[in-house]
């Protein structure tokens, strides 16, 4: 038949091309499904056994009265009310917030100054600066603790020798509840500066040079340029760093664990260290898990809240 069109011929020839047959199309795109599951299996199984299952189990145990020695019994919210009404836990949270105030603002201000310096010097010097600031970050908490414990030593430590030059008496930095938390804040800043600084540097490099050129033409000085260009341009990254540093500082517990084990007189008993000590010391685990969950939920809510504010402002801009 001379009048038959090409498409009619195709239709006669049987099932249409791939796109016209959804089932066959799906079969084609999913042709490697078996292989995909094989590739995913190791990671998904490992995450399932060592992350997802423990997380579900933790939520379950938080509502149980349970220990290694007896079967769990359901106690409802009892563990949570025990945690919230425990002055020791509340004190640990307050102490954690104090620790945040001792570390995060200093870190952000220092990192900001550092970034201003890095973007204004030559390539070689800026590379040297970046390497130096990041080097402490890769050092372990244990080694950091050892170094700083010895620097803080009462009778022969470097710090007491240094303040002695100014005629001050030696201070038992890690032995006096008045100073211990501050003494731990310093190695925490030393360890944490690297990442904060380098993220800030990369954000600062991204600010278009023209903004500064225009400001210079109008006679703006460094301070004005920082206040009206740099900080507003970096608003999002600064808030991001504020949140992540806040969360990280509130969760710090390895430093006090190794340096003071929470002492003296609980003065360095940060929230996670409090929970960790409970884990190890108390056979009834429900309390510790409930405390860890509560801390996580509160921290998550705070971060989510802040990010929400940031994002909504961003959409207005």
């Amino acid at each position: 038949m001379a009048t038959t069109t090409a498409s009619a011929q195709l239709a006669e020839a049987g099932p249409g091309p791939l796109a016209e047959d959804p089932a066959r199309h799906r079969r084609y795109t999913n042709r490697y499904a078996g292989f995909a599951y094989l590739m995913l299996a190791p990671a998904v199984i490992l995450l399932g056994i060592f992350v997802i299952w423990p997380a579900i189990y933790a939520v379950y145990l938080a509502f149980q009265d349970w220990s290694f020695y007896k079967a769990p019994t359901f106690v409802g919210l009892q563990n949570f009310t025990n945690v919230i009404t425990d002055p020791l836990f509340i004190n640990a949270i307050v102490r954690g917030l104090k620790f945040v105030l001792m570390t995060v603002p200093i870190m952000l201000v220092l990192a900001f100054l550092f970034s201003c310096l890095v973007v204004s010097v030559g390539k070689r010097f800026s590379t040297l600066l970046k390497i130096s600031i990041y080097l402490p970050t890769i050092i372990s908490t244990v080694i950091t603790s050892i170094i700083f414990t010895i620097i803080y030593d009462y009778s022969g430590g470097l710090l007491n020798w240094a303040i002695g030059l100014f005629g001050l008496d030696s201070i038992p930095w890690l032995g006096d509840p008045k100073y211990a938390l501050k003494a731990i804040a310093i190695p925490a800043i030393w360890l944490g500066m690297g990442l904060t600084s380098l993220i800030m540097v990369s954000a600062m490099i991204d600010i278009p040079e023209e903004f500064y050129e225009a400001a210079s033409m109008e006679g703006a000085n460094w301070w004005k340029k920082t206040l009206y260009i740099t900080i507003p341009q970096m608003k999002n990254i600064l808030l991001y760093l504020l949140v992540t540093d806040f969360v990280a500082a509130l969760q710090q517990y390895e430093l006090p664990l190794v340096m003071t084990n929470g002492g003296p007189l609980d003065s360095t008993m940060l929230p996670n260290l409090f929970i960790f000590s409970h884990f190890r010391g108390d056979p009834t685990a429900g309390y510790s898990i409930a405390a860890a969950l509560l801390l996580f939920v509160v921290l998550g809510a705070i971060s989510a809240g802040i990010f929400r504010v940031v994002n909504s402002e961003k959409s207005v801009d």
Binding site: L40, V44, L46, L128, L135, I147, I150
Partner: protein, 297 residues
């Protein structure tokens, strides 16, 4: 009038430019000096504790905590480093930790890159659900699952073995996410060409994606190695036999048990930090370059 070459013309112009430039240079010079000084302070604060540790490793026992403080030792005690490096317990710990770290790094690169490839390039039912599940694990804090993970590894009879150090942390949503981002940027056309040559998904992964993965593997590998090398809390929970302690445990124990041997402790700490410092210095370009991505994820 005589003709000027461009170079001569430039020379004639220089006296006219000079005074202006000299003024700018002086201001630049003062600013540069200030920047240099501030920069040196940053470098000093960052590196001093490390330098002090390495130097203290050369001091006699009593000299580490000696008033008045002296940065350099009176006599260089090389024997601290010699003793720690010939101490069988330290060497065993070093070897044990190093082999664990290498295994851990290899395992985590394998497992995570395989998953990343599937998520980046293959289609399969429940892909989205699985992806969301995997990403969600990124937000589960370690402290919440510390005890229940401990219960799990106890039930699996993994306590006090290499497996308990290497296996539980090997799969990581952050690594899968990171490598997937990299794989998403590999052009489809490369894959199509390979497919025309008759390669299936398996061969495309082995022959195409793995050889192209050097950059993300360096970054992820170092991250994994560092996290294993520096881990302390998990090992103290799951390792009981002192002969099987990892490096950080060994150092913490050394500090509390042999308190007077500070010179050797510092030498040991320096030796424990040396591999990661060297690794960082070798790969600093990739690591620092990657931080931009880490910040904006």
């Amino acid at each position: 009038m005589h003709s000027h070459t461009p170079a001569q013309q430039m020379k004639d112009l220089i006296p006219m430019i000079e005074p202006h430039r000299r003024a700018r240079t002086r201001r630049w010079w003062v600013g540069g000096l200030l920047k240099g000084a501030v920069g040196l302070i940053f470098i000093f604060l960052a590196l001093f504790p490390l330098a002090w540790m390495i130097i203290a490793g050369f001091k006699a026992k009593t000299e580490v905590l000696e008033t008045p403080f002296q940065f350099f030792p009176e006599v260089w005690h090389w024997e601290n480093y010699v003793r720690i490096l010939s101490d069988s317990a330290f060497l065993r710990t070093l070897g044990w930790t190093l082999s664990g770290a290498v295994l851990f790094t290899a395992l985590s690169l394998t497992v995570n890159s395989m998953a990343a490839y599937a998520f980046a390039r293959l289609e399969f039912p429940f892909k989205k659900t699985l992806w969301v599940t995997v990403i969600t694990t990124m937000f589960i804090p370690g402290m919440t699952i510390l005890l229940t993970s401990f219960i799990v590894v106890t039930k699996l009879h993994m306590l006090d073995t290499l497996a308990v150090l290497v296996i539980p942390g090997a799969a990581s949503a952050a690594s899968i996410f990171f490598i997937r981002q990299f794989y998403l940027n590999i052009p489809r056309s490369l894959e199509e060409a390979a497919e025309l040559d008759g390669c299936g998904a398996g061969r495309i992964f082995m022959r195409l994606f793995l050889p192209l993965s050097k950059a993300p593997f360096v970054v992820m590998g170092i991250t994994a190695f560092l996290s294993y090398w520096n881990s302390y809390v998990w090992p103290i929970m799951v390792m009981a036999t002192p002969e099987k302690f990892v490096l950080q445990q060994y150092l913490a124990t050394f500090r509390s048990e042999r308190t007077s041997e500070l010179g050797i402790l510092m030498a040991g700490s320096a030796m424990a930090a040396a591999p990661v410092i060297i690794m960082f210095l070798v790969f600093q370009k990739q690591i620092i370059g990657n931080i931009k991505m880490a910040g904006l994820k």
